[in-house]
Amino acid sequence: MLSRRALLTLLAASGTAACGSRPGETTAPAAAPPAAASGGATSSGVTSTTSTGAVTTGSTGGSNAVGTSPHTLVVVFQRFAADWLNLLVPYGDPDYATLRPNIKVGSPLDLDGYFGLNPGLADLKPLYDSGRLGFVAATGWLPQEARDRSHFFAQSIAEAGARSGVSGGWLARVMLRDSSDSSWAALAAESAVPASFQGYAGAIAVRNFADYNHGSVMGDAATALIETIAGLAGTPGERIRQLAEGVRELQASPPPEPTVSYPATSLGQGLKVAAQAIRGGLAPRVISVSSEDDWDTHVNQVSRHAAALPNFAGALRAFHDDLGELMDGVTLVTMTEFGRKAKENLGGTDHGTASSMLLMGAGVLGGRVHGQWPGLSASALYQGEDLEPTTDFRAVLGEILAGRLGLSPAQVEEIFPGGYAAPANWRGFLR
């Protein structure tokens, strides 16, 4: 099992290496960071983990990340289209500043001499430097017929994982192929179960573990009566019965409190719940989290990003530090329904096409920007106005499903039909 995964990872890495040179491609990892660069204000345990992550490379890191315990995939969906051009800033692209005279990020934190991080994301820089966080640039739908600039349609097909020919959501198809026996295996750490879980009845939505009890003075007797009555209703009562069951389980062993503080945002709250589930031994396989960090920046983008980005980065950083060594068994990936226009509309950005994805985890080959940068010149832009996707987002997800959740390429193909997530398309961002 382990060797198969290692082999796949290796294949993927060689696949990337075979690609031709591109304007913004990073051909080497960032300079080896000093171990002291990471850690920050965290506990000593976390710092040592981080140092280990920074020092550890190659097969040792790989075996630690994959082999020992069941892996957890955390999927953060940035709702309403994050402008990744101003998050992962291609400041080395000569067209960037021209297209965005008023909203360009003037002094990004340099990552590799070509890309820089928006200073609002400074909390993520130490993780990047220690090799535990990376990016795949210019992601989206490779097939043009699936590209769409409607938030709602684009979210629904991104969560389905295909424009057509599939039923339900992609995470549901993952769960249907997973053998985990935990009742918390599919966890929506948000206020509702997202469409990506549609078609899998076992997903549980939790916004706050501290609230996870009805609180009646009738206590367990009321829980039991709810379970019985809802059970008698069959399908229409299933979610209610499942809730009562969960309340009972958590009564018996409540999840631990966080060891760090999280921003008071949907993402902060969601990642706090995600970390509690992992640390509490609930053995989640897939966790969905919603980032509602004011991404739909048609106007006033600079000030809105200045307010939102520190919370976005802070939530990811808190999650990383809260989990400590357990981060070895976790891979986090972000996605959004589309990127925003390369050219600003004077103060903001309208709906566009390609975006980028962030990857975090001890098993991530971080400290670099993966993928292929298509450039922002007029001829390189999709329909003359949008960043062109060069990596299908399903290839990124497929690489994680195979490399970390142990699914076979054939199963990945069932989840994302059409070959877009096939090993040949992987970018080799896993250790």
């Binding site: 709602f152 009646s216 009738m218 007797a221 009562g237 509602e292």
Partner: protein, 525 residues
């Protein structure tokens, strides 16, 4: 139709495995939504066109019949409820900009928001014109704007003049009113859509969400043309110098793109000016895609998450034939065979579940009326249990940020988190302080409401208490196995027919009220 087929399947299943399915509980495992909802069509109608049946509304529909009741509701208005609401929440009848000034330009920002939100809840709870309130909720979702995007409370004017005024009127009037509202122009950024700085936000959502719908027959080029057509349409914004005029919609010709356009197959010559907007809206409204989209959303709201295509076609034809008459479309839907066959096909959203629970309990006040303002005048404290619970369940009135409005499907709402906060609301309702004076002391129950829960707790024996609770809260019998479980919960080791001490009985019956209102027998609609 569906119910019969389900029944036959169940009967066949039971006959085949009759020996294994010894108790009712096992066979009930195969229940379908229609069976849980039951076959009482009067009840079905009230679950759909109101925020929940009450003894009075059920008596009325039984007395006049469903068809006549539908007509009553289509014509209904409730002056008393309006007067009460305005007395409790007076800010809703003033203009948003005036309120903003009188409260010190933002120092007391959320009072007006909370009053509007509370008024919405109060009307849903109290008004006898229930179908009107349901449609207000429907259109507020369809033309969603987020109450906190603009600190100036233009939402108050929008809710009153655009949504409430047209909720049962004509869709064309409603859509045009929404386009000429400062609230919408602000929410979807059109006030910043200017020639040379085109902002596509409003044009895209107007086509996709408000009218033709995704796949309804427009292209990306149409969207871009519409964004040019709408450029220059904004409103007076320069606070504080023209504060009283703030929110007055105006077309600024110098900010309008004067080029020639091509929209929905029609040429717009250069220099068309403001007249282009109504011309474009007329094209949108006459387009079959708009009829189809509105019909489909109405059928999703009133019939099923995945509405029957044949019904949607007939409703769309009615839209076209009547020029967008909302009452005509509702009349067709509510009297259709598809509607009758759909009992239990919908799940209550938190608003309907929580307000419906209050209505079932005979409570017709939003909780906590005891506060006084700076001058000692009693005012409503809007952020009580009901409001806070809706926030936690993700269904705060006017609190949905993106422009598509709150989802209208069990896929979205049928999750553990939503159910959890509904349960916590119910526990707060029956055991907490917010409504306790209503539940336990009829003398302080000031309105004409009939507190069912109070009646339930007056029963002397467990058996009587259970049958009262089921009859008064659910209006429909429970399966025998569920009743038996409920009785065991209340009686525990005692004789179910023996009188029990008030304190103990009340505690257990309140628990039962909570469980019943959290059960599928209450939550399906």
């Amino acid at each position: 139709m569906m119910q019969r087929r389900t029944f036959l399947q169940l009967a066949g299943y039971s006959a085949l495995y009759g020996g294994l399915l010894a108790d009712f509980g096992r066979s009930a495992m195969a229940m379908e939504p229609g069976e849980v909802a039951g076959s009482d069509l009067d009840l079905h109608l009230l679950r759909r066109i109101s925020f929940g049946p009450t003894p009075a509304s059920l008596a009325r529909v039984r007395a006049v019949g469903r068809a006549a009741y539908i007509e009553e509701q289509l014509a209904a208005s409730d002056l008393l409820a309006e007067t009460l609401t305005a007395a409790l929440y007076p800010l809703i009848n003033t203009s948003g900009s005036a309120i903003y000034l009188s409260t010190g330009a933002g120092f007391v920002v959320n009072i007006h928001q909370l009053e509007l939100q509370s008024a919405m809840l109060h009307r849903a709870l109290l008004s006898s014109a229930q179908l009107h309130e349901v449609m207000v909720d429907f259109w507020n979702d369809h033309f969603n704007t987020y109450i906190r995007k603009n600190p100036v409370p233009l939402k108050i004017d929008f809710d009153r003049n655009v949504i409430r005024a047209n909720a049962l009127g004509n869709f064309k009037t409603l859509l045009k009113a929404s386009v000429r509202s400062a609230e919408m122009l602000h929410y979807l950024d059109n006030w910043l859509n200017r020639s040379g700085q085109i902002n596509e936000n409003y044009a895209r959502e107007l086509l996709e969400l408000h009218s033709l719908g995704k796949g309804g027959g427009y292209s990306e080029a149409d969207m871009k043309a519409l964004s040019l057509i709408l450029s220059g349409l904004g409103f007076i914004t320069d606070l504080p110098f023209s504060a009283l005029a703030y929110g007055t919609v105006q077309f600024n010709a110098s900010q309008h793109d004067g080029s020639a356009k091509h929209f929905l197959g029609v040429d717009f010559p250069a220099g068309g000016g403001e007249a282009e907007i109504d011309r474009a809206l007329d094209l949108i409204l006459a387009h079959p895609g708009t009829a189809q989209h509105i019909a489909s959303k109405l059928c999703r709201r009133f019939v099923a998450d995945d509405p029957p295509a044949a019904l949607v076609e007939r409703v769309a034809a009615t839209f076209t034939a009547t020029g967008g008459d909302i009452k005509a479309m509702l009349r067709l839907i509510l009297n259709s065979a598809e509607f009758e066959a759909s009992a239990g096909a919908k799940l209550k959203r938190p608003l309907e579940a929580m307000v419906g629970a209050l209505r079932a309990c005979g409570i017709n006040q939003v909780d906590q009326l005891a506060n006084t303002n700076l001058f000692g005048i009693p005012v409503a404290a809007p952020n009580g249990l009901l409001f806070n619970s809706l926030v936690q369940a993700g269904h705060e009135p006017f609190g949905w940020v993106p422009p598509n409005g709150y989802p209208d499907s069990a896929d979205y709402w049928g999750n553990s988190n939503t159910m959890l906060y509904q349960q916590k609301f119910l526990v707060g309702l029956v055991e907490g302080l917010s409504f306790s004076y209503l539940l336990s002391d009829p003398i302080s129950f000031l309105t004409l409401g009939n507190s069912v829960a109070t009646g339930v707790t007056r029963a002397k024996t467990p058996r009587k208490a259970v049958s009262n609770a089921v009859a008064n809260l659910l209006f429909t019998p429970l399966p025998e196995a569920a009743s038996a479980a409920a009785l065991a919960f209340v009686a525990q080791d005692a004789d179910p027919d023996a009188e029990m001490t008030n304190t103990e009985l009340e505690k257990r019956v309140k628990g039962l009220v909570f469980v019943l209102l959290a059960s599928p027998w209450f939550l399906l609609r």
